[in-house]
């Protein structure tokens, strides 16, 4: 591809073990080989045509998190262009150019790290391009470049008032030597960073013109839908497709080893055809599997010790000397992603190649998976990435692409495979089930002197990026369980990898912390209760060494009116975390009805995410993450019965709705620290805040989600 000769990425070993890629700008023969006949493309992210069009290539995909605004803001800030002047393109699969340095060079959008990963290199990208444009102008005017400045896509020569647009300079700029060092702006000079810039992706999303993966329509495309073995690992034994084939619009039935697809002129016909199929399944080895057995297996695992994720001091000794001892076990369920855009993938397999249209968080993996499935070399697979109608980790996986290619291999021409909602929920890859065992010791003042935490569950990272899984541990699974904000003199954390049979696991919004923060923030609340102390004051006393954590806790408590009286069975709960390099405290105000039903009425969030690129996106992501977390706290649970996922659609896998949504306030702490992650942090922290509020309202400590309303009924 054209850009690859112009820029390359240097790989080296990073501290901490992962493969770190650093962006190196083109240096061929001392001059940029960035000269098209008429354009300027100094690197893989910026392209300026002689027509003045400025195209920014987005290495991270937009799935609602605002990355198609925040990433352009970083480049545009230094390039000195207005956001309305730029056009965005999805990056093609190319890990060398677009690999995520914080994910070991994998080209993926996840773990709330796009801004963190881009903060330095993409500002440099913009700055170097701008410097080359200025140099080109100065040369043409034959003046010192210091007398020129860039502004809104133009270079100005202030003394004479002359100006050139970037487009007019593009061809010349392409021949300018690439500068070694271009200083970046200081924060006080930022024009864009820190402003609530309007999102670039939204106009097309309010008038129906935005194209998601599910909307692509290559000429002649057929629509397919499918039924996969209801039990994971089962096979198709027999298919009677007589009635299905008779449905008007049905073109073809595709039988695979473990799935059957109906190919039709439109989805209505495909679904009707699917309903008319008679399929006999061989359920395979997991035919009798229930969630209960998986949970029991995990519980049993925590009776034995496992790899040590963190150890401080001597927990056993401290426990032995403790005045008060507290023990608890916590459990979290499997969860589906239930993205609003059901899984889908469009594929055209030809003799000599394969074309894929999809919305993916990991586009290079899509290419590799399609190539492997189709038996083609990588360069024969063209992948078009699209806007994503909800990712939350689901679209880091290529399972849907593999399935679509398998089907497309039997179809003449392009085929769009669309999962029904039932297939989407019943054949997701799920947030793992977790079982946690904790014990703590308090001193005579009630303060914690020992913290012992052991948990068991699936390591998604061990499958998804094996090099990150070392000595039985991985950084995702333990995030939020170790390096707690609290001063705990004796702490011991162990993790046991236990992969459940018969159900695939995957990342889910707020990943490791989605589990750990519920447990740690629930347990610290238990310690405060055992010490008969206020939950905020108790936490606060442990934060002398983490002032940023203390500041967000104080801010949230102040804004929420912590301590002010509330009616009976209405109460506040607090939660605090430092994950994704962001400090966040939330206070949930919850009302528990006499019948045990729970309403979250108000959530106050205080956040310190370092330098804020777009404050409106920060707010939006927190609002979003809170709703996502409350859905999990109140409703989220995937269960297996006889190997089958019991939930099917939004009636049995409920989502929070408008009438249940709380008022949400977000308070942002001003900071000049490097940016922290924002897409997920709000989800992990809200769940324990809700559980802690329920405890405050009812005296019932919930150590398992979703909330079981039956235990919260008011005694008559």
């Amino acid at each position: 591809m054209i850009l690859s000769r112009r820029s390359f990425l240097q790989a080296g070993a990073a501290t901490g073990g992962g493969l770190m890629l650093s962006l190196t700008l083109p240096v061929a023969n001392g001059a940029a080989e960035a000269a098209d006949a008429d354009g300027f493309a100094p690197n893989a992210f910026v392209r300026i045509g002689s027509d003045g069009q400025i195209v920014l290539t987005m290495p991270y995909v937009e799935m609602g998190q605002g990355t198609y605004t925040s990433i352009p803001m970083l480049i545009a800030e230094e390039l000195e262009v207005d956001l309305k002047q730029v056009r965005l393109e999805h990056a093609p699969p190319n890990e060398q150019l677009y690999g995520n340095p914080l994910l070991g060079g994998i080209q993926a959008t996840g773990n709330s790290n796009a801004v963190r990963a881009s903060w330095q290199p993409l500002r440099e990208t913009g700055a170097i391009a701008r410097a080359m444009l200025v140099a080109a102008a100065a040369k043409r005017w034959n003046v010192d470049h210091v007398s020129c400045r860039a502004q809104s896509g133009e270079v100005l020569h202030a003394p004479t008032g002359r100006r050139f647009t970037y487009g007019e300079l593009a061809a010349d700029a392409a021949r300018v030597p690439v500068p070694e060092n271009v200083p970046l702006k200081r924060p006080e000079g930022f024009k864009l960073i820190g402003t609530p810039a309007k999102r670039l992706d939204t106009p097309a999303k309010v008038n129906g013109t935005a194209i998601y993966g599910i909307d692509v329509r290559p000429p002649g495309v057929k629509i397919a839908t499918l039924m996969q073995s209801p039990v994971f690992g089962g096979r198709v034994k027999r298919v009677d497709d007589t009635a299905a084939k008779a449905v008007k619009g049905v073109r073809q039935i595709v039988r695979l080893d473990d799935a059957v697809a109906v190919v039709a002129d439109h989805m209505g016909a495909a679904k009707k055809g699917l309903a008319a199929l008679v399929i006999e399944w061989d359920d395979g080895p997991h035919a009798k599997l229930n969630t209960k057995e998986i949970a029991e297996e995990l519980e049993k695992a925590t009776l034995n010790s496992g790899p040590v994720a963190q150890n401080i001091g001597d927990v056993d000794k401290a426990l032995a000397s403790a005045v008060t001892k507290i023990e608890a076990t916590y459990e979290l369920p499997f969860l589906a992603h239930a993205t609003m855009e059901p899984m889908n993938c469009t594929v055209h397999v030809r003799n000599d190649g394969c074309e894929v249209w999809v919305g993916s968080q990991a586009i290079a993996r899509v290419q590799a998976a399609a190539a492997k499935t189709a038996g083609l070399p990588l360069d024969k697979v063209v992948v078009h990435n699209h806007l994503i109608g909800g990712g939350f980790g689901r679209r880091l996986e290529a399972d849907g692409v593999i399935r679509a290619v398998q089907i497309a291999q039997h179809v003449d021409g392009p085929v769009k495979v669309v999962w029904t909602r039932e297939e989407d929920i019943q054949h997701d890859m799920y947030r793992p089930y977790w079982f946690d065992r904790l014990s703590a010791g308090l001193d005579e003042k009630g303060m914690p002197i020992a913290w012992n935490h052991r948990f068991a569950g699936s390591s998604v990272l061990a499958r998804w990026a094996p090099p990150f899984f070392r000595n039985g541990l991985d950084p995702d699974t333990t995030e939020g369980a170790i390096n707690l904000v609290y001063a705990l003199p004796n702490l011991h954390v162990e993790y046991l990898q236990v992969e459940p049979p018969g159900i695939p696991t995957a990342f889910w919004r707020s990943v490791g912390p989605s589990h750990n923060v519920f447990v740690t923030e629930g347990f610290i609340d238990e310690l405060a209760a055992a010490a008969k102390q206020d939950p905020v004051a108790y936490r606060r006393a442990l934060l002398d060494k983490t002032p940023r954590a203390k500041a967000v806790l104080d801010l949230a408590a102040e804004k929420a009116g912590w301590g002010q009286p509330l009616p009976e069975r209405v109460a506040r709960g607090v939660s605090l975390q430092f994950v994704f390099a962001t400090y966040m405290a939330q206070i949930a105000q919850v009302e528990v009805s006499k019948d045990g039903s729970v309403r979250v009425r108000r959530v106050v969030c205080a956040v310190d995410c370092g330098t804020v690129v777009n404050p409106d996106t920060v707010r939006a992501q927190i609002e979003s993450a809170i709703i996502f977390g409350i859905t999990a706290a109140l409703y989220g649970e995937i269960t297996l019965k006889n190997g089958r996922v019991e939930q099917t659609n939004f009636d049995t896998y409920q989502m929070l709705r408008m009438n249940e949504a709380p008022a949400i306030e977000v308070h942002i702490v001003q900071s000049s620290e490097p940016p922290g992650g924002m897409g997920e942090a709000g989800t992990s922290v809200i769940v324990p805040a809700v559980a802690n509020a329920i405890f405050a309202a009812t005296g019932k400590r919930l150590r398992k989600v979703p909330v079981d309303s039956s235990v919260l009924k008011q005694p008559v």
């Binding site: 609602g64 999303k205 439109h266 609003m340 806007l387 909602r421 939006a620």
Partner: protein, 156 residues
């Protein structure tokens, strides 16, 4: 068999089974992909269109039941006064995240505003609780509807 329906003011004839959902006729037969598929059971509202102005889940509306009703979709809702105000408020308030559900949200909100120029919170709950947003933009949807209603003037 052939059915002729009026979509955004234009007669369109399609040859499908009578029990084909309007959603798939719009998306796959007519190529109008602004209307979204979310659940297929009228549980999420992503597929909402208007039939003679009434918000309707197109995923369970069969083509043979449409008759002469005027079908309005997200592609044309901006041509109505309420739709235009809602779309503007959606952008002003920055409601949208992934955006996938927003066609349906905007169709439900436009119908609400067309019939009730000054909806109260309870009206918004009633009109909008059938539309799921997995990105959780509810707080902003409520704000945007109120903002759009303000532009209706006080006496409305």
């Amino acid at each position: 068999m052939a059915f002729t329906i009026k979509v955004n003011g234009v007669d369109r004839t399609v040859d499908v089974d009578g029990d084909s959902p309007l959603l798939w006729v719009l998306r796959d037969v007519l190529g109008m992909t602004g209307t979204k598929f979310g659940c297929g059971m009228a549980l999420c509202g992503a597929c909402t269109v208007h039939l003679d102005g009434a918000p309707t889940r197109s995923c369970i509306t069969t083509i043979d039941s449409v008759g002469s009703a005027a079908v309005t979709t997200i592609e044309a809702i901006g041509d109505t006064p309420a739709g235009q105000k809602i779309q503007k408020a959606w952008l002003d308030v920055e409601v949208v995240q992934c955006g996938y559900c927003q066609s349906g949200q905007i169709m439900s909100a436009s119908a609400l505003l067309a019939g009730n120029p000054h909806p109260r919170d309870a009206d918004i709950d009633d009109a909008m609780s059938g539309n799921i947003c997995r990105c959780g933009t509810y707080v902003r949807i409520r704000e945007a509807i109120k903002q759009a209603a303000q532009s209706n003037g006080r006496e409305g």
